[in-house]
Amino acid sequence: MSGCPTHGTLVGGYVLRSLEPGEMEEMRRHVDECPHCGPDARALDPLPRLLDTIEPDDVPPPTVSPAIEELVLDRFARERGRQRRARKPRFSLPRVPRLAGLAAACVVAAVLAVVLLAEDEQAPRAYASARLAPVSGSSPAVATAWADDVPAGTRVRLRARGLPVREGMMYELWCVRPDGHWVSGGTFRAGGNGKAEAVLTAAVRPGDYHVMVVTRHTARGAKGDHGPALLRGRLRY
């Protein structure tokens, strides 16, 4: 409270212009003279303007999906793993005379470089990734997809969890082009725990598409029938 025994409780209403007209007028005179209410009202005076910067619907502010933490840490772990592989020597050199040791080290370094480069060539190198979020807000399903460029098109490594588990149910991954054309990456099933790990290939190239969708696989009927969409996400190149 402002410390003013007579008008301290009115300061909030005065600042928000929510008092009755008579009270507003009385407070206007009072804050000019009161050593408690005057500073109190001046400190609170910027608040209405700040409150005007938002809509009431903005409260509470949007919260980040818990899946993002997983993605951040996963990305960190993968990069750290690559760094460690690049740094760590594969075996230690035996003790040998200094020059011979140096020469041997050069040979080993050259061999290691070749091995590591070759390994890196073979390692999956995603050119894009996507976090797929539920199309329906009530679904707990979430997935992450990494897209690698391969001669046949795009290889997608998909990791999903929270998928509905029903006997015989299959899912299908789609890459959606900006022209609205859906290109199937193939089908997969979830385990009994709702989790799925799949490597699929779609006949699309980097930049051809910006969206990935997981649908419940259905027998193809009318053209354009992709089955009900469960997860959807935009590619991050």
């Binding site: 909030g12 809509e55 919260t63």
Partner: protein, 182 residues
């Protein structure tokens, strides 16, 4: 005692467990996401920005200089740059292009400052008790007088008056703590 923000960043280059990054993420992801969401108006893009901010934070942690900026400022600077990139990308994608002319740097800076402010105000309001938030909502956004609030909610008028004053003072304290600049 919990490590300071600067300590967490200093440890990032040698952190193989991910613990330091996780802690930094938990301290700042919510507000950075709110900031990005406000600036971009798109949850998915905002989530991408948050991911990028932390990826850049660990990659460039060795470049962080605590004498030049707080960790918070440093992360916001990274976020700001990612947001500018995201807006540029969005503007060249069909269907996502804004209807407006390309923005100047000054306009972008102002828009980002506004986005930070909006997030801070919303976050400050969210920290109030439901009772305090409600009187502010009804009086400021609803345009009701304190007497009308009293009648509508069946609460004594004296209680509504003191609650409103407490609510605003608490909000002021929270905003001061968050370093909200009017």
């Amino acid at each position: 005692m919990a490590p300071s923000d600067a300590t967490l960043v200093e440890r990032l280059p040698t952190d193989d467990s991910g613990d330091e990054l996780r802690e930094l993420y938990r301290r700042y992801s919510a507000e950075l996401f709110g900031f990005a969401c406000n600036a971009l108006g798109d949850r998915e893009l905002a989530e991408e920005v948050v991911q990028d901010v932390f990826a850049r934070a660990w990659r460039h942690a060795a470049d962080y200089d605590a004498r030049r900026a707080s960790v918070r400022t440093w992360l916001y600077t990274i976020a700001r740059n990612r947001i500018v990139d995201a807006r540029r990308r969005a503007s060249v994608r069909p269907g996502l292009a804004p209807d407006t002319e390309p923005e100047t740097q000054g306009e972008i800076d102002r828009a980002l400052e506004d986005a930070v402010l909006r997030w801070q105000v919303a976050a400050a309001l969210a920290r109030l008790s439901p009772e305090h938030r409600e009187v502010i909502r009804l009086a400021h956004y609803g345009g009701l007088s304190l007497r009308e609030i009293s009648e509508r909610k069946g609460i004594p008028l004296g209680t509504v008056k003191s609650r409103t004053s407490y609510a605003l003072r608490t909000l002021r304290l929270i905003m001061d703590e968050m370093e909200v600049r009017a």
